[in-house]
Subunit: 340 residues, 2 copies
DNA sequence: TAGCGTCATGTGAGCGCTAACGGCAACGCT
DNA sequence: AGCGTTGCCGTTAGCGCTCACATGACGCTA
């Protein structure tokens, strides 16, 4: 492992100053073609690679952004990450992907870490905490974008999902299917998205002139297991329920499992709709009707907002909202597709 | 956005030299308790944060490692990432997770990028390329660990799966189930893992004194769609096949879909086994029998090997091999569980 | 011819940190 | 008393790059 080749080594070998080498590697115009060629040849021959650390220190820019997610295994976040990364790559930025493993206290640690690395900005997906320390930490970044979460205490540019409209349309689809006894597995009690999806459910039921049955609405952990348990409890207590709108696809898969266990046919006895359209939704049996959230597109938007902030500096509380699209599959088909 | 507080600012305010501040933040012993306290108070009051860039430049160490994966959405890789990250976190290292989006040429770009950032080492999962340029790039890193891939041209420490044993046991399970017409969806033609899983299939069939039927063996793209297509073609051409061993769980899910389309009952008509036990395997219907690869454990091993290399420097061609474990579910149950 | 502007290149300093070495005082041992 | 060791702290230089400014040569215009 030899000592690294530096800009000074290249300068000596090319017979120019270190500044000329810098001009060449940064594509500055004020270098003669002959000198440029000579320097490029030395660079190629020696395999010289600029140090990103030194460049970052000198320029206060690293062309790197941080992305923080609660769980990289969750397709919801990994699809957003893909969108962010594609846009970042196109614009010459690297993405430093940090996973907090669903441990909220690690969000602060990760932010400190990213600050030390002097990333040019951060994108936070599904923020779990909002302590004063965390808000302080966010303030120290030049550019910040939130995804799927707003903060009342401080506004940042954000990319949001129109959860209410998505939920309303999902419930409307169930109503179109002739179902009026519609249950709601609403996800975590204090979840931002859950509140909005609940509002969408309420709106659709009101629009149809139907009363809200508290017994048909259950909170649940947003996992397959959480969904299975809540659906089982709800359906056992309320066998009249003939449709379920679920907080997300994982919860919906759990509800499918509960129906199987209770010998309830899907969609004949209970129609089921999820939310997100993660890749799993099309692979389970029956294939899941769901609200597709354009996750990769959200990633593009988030990176776009961050770049604007980095380049223009004042974006205030700009919010981009994406609209879910209902994807009809077997778990809640169109009315005419349902065998009588 | 104020100018960042530096070590010199803290030194002035605390009335000491910058070197003393450095000693304090690095927990060096040769500072008096009174001086240390004074400095720590200034640090807390000013919110000073050391620059990781400057530290990296001065020490040639960044306490950061790179991890390269072909597709972060694939649970196989995201689970390995979790294992890597847990071990890295415990040892004070950050993980820079880089996704090549299944574009092999991006592997080289990502490696250049990681080199600029002067990461202390890299872990490469599922390497797709092995060009001379790529090998050169790998040589420039102080520490390198491969996951699920070896290179003939150059040895690096690696974490491997005992694909052959896993495959042999999966096929043995099918034989125990009384199936002798066992098909193999073998994955990509030039895949390292595919060759070993093929060998395991051959070994088990030979052990049972059964001839190898070439028509029962198909290559396929390692996706759900690839598996669905290959299974359909194979089962249509060879309706006598009553069991399928599949390259991985995604391919197996595809095979499940093909059986449904062909009105072949699982497992009564065709028993199916996958490989990996990604999270999806337990959620499809019927739940998938598969060889569970301890992915998180692989991540722990990979990071462990990398740390050894960073700290001790000469690990040669050390290879850790993990053994898959057969997980019996509905797609290929035990013989006594099969209804006659 | 003199002065000014442009082009190409070089010199010096600084970004923020750590390593290496030096200086000084206090203490203990011979 | 003299020497060596330890503890504490400070000064200097360097890591590898970029920015700012300076310099010399050349060409053009008044």
């Amino acid at each position: 492992m030899a000592r690294r080749i530096t800009i000074s080594d290249v300068a000596k070998l090319a017979g120019v100053s270190h500044q000329t080498v810098s001009r060449v590697i940064n594509n500055k115009p004020d270098v003669s073609p002959a000198t440029r060629q000579r320097v490029l040849e030395v660079i190629k021959k020696t395999g010289y690679r600029p140090s990103g650390l030194a460049r970052g220190l000198a320029t206060s820019k690293t062309a790197t952004i941080g992305m923080v997610v609660p769980d990289i295994s969750n397709p919801f976040f990994s699809d957003i990450a893909r969108g962010i990364e594609t846009t970042a790559y196109e614009r010459g930025y690297n993405v430093f992907l940090c996973n907090t493993n669903e441990e909220p206290e690690r969000e602060l640690e990760v932010l400190y870490s990213l600050e030390q690395k002097q990333v040019d900005g951060v994108i936070l997906c599904g923020l779990r905490q909002k302590t004063p320390a965390l808000l302080d930490a966010l303030e120290r970044f030049f550019a910040v974008v939130l995804v799927n979460r707003l903060l009342e205490e401080k506004t940042f540019p954000a990319v949001m999902i129109d959860n209410q409209t998505g939920a309303k349309e999902a419930v409307q689809h169930l109503l179109n299917l002739g179902r009026t006894n519609i249950g709601l597995l609403v996800g975590p009690a204090f979840s931002y998205s859950a509140k909005q999806r609940y509002q969408g459910y309420i709106e659709a039921m009101h629009n149809a002139g139907l009363p809200i049955q508290d017994g048909w609405i259950h909170n649940c952990i947003p996992t397959v297991e959480g969904g299975e348990q809540a659906a089982r409890v709800l359906l056992e207590a309320h066998p009249e329920v003939n449709a379920l709108f679920c907080y997300n696809d994982l919860v919906a898969v759990g509800a499918i499992q509960a129906c199987h266990a209770l010998q309830r046919k899907i969609p004949e006895d209970v129609a089921i709709i999820g939310f997100d359209d993660i890749y799993l939704a099309a692979l389970v049996t029956p294939a899941l009707t769901t609200c597709r959230v354009p996750l990769i597109e959200m990633g593009h938007h988030a990176m776009g907002l961050l770049l604007q902030q980095i380049n223009e500096k004042h974006l205030g509380s700009r919010v981009i909202t994406v609209t879910p699209q209902l994807i009809i599959r077997d778990s809640a088909p169109f009315a005419h597709e349902l065998t009588p």
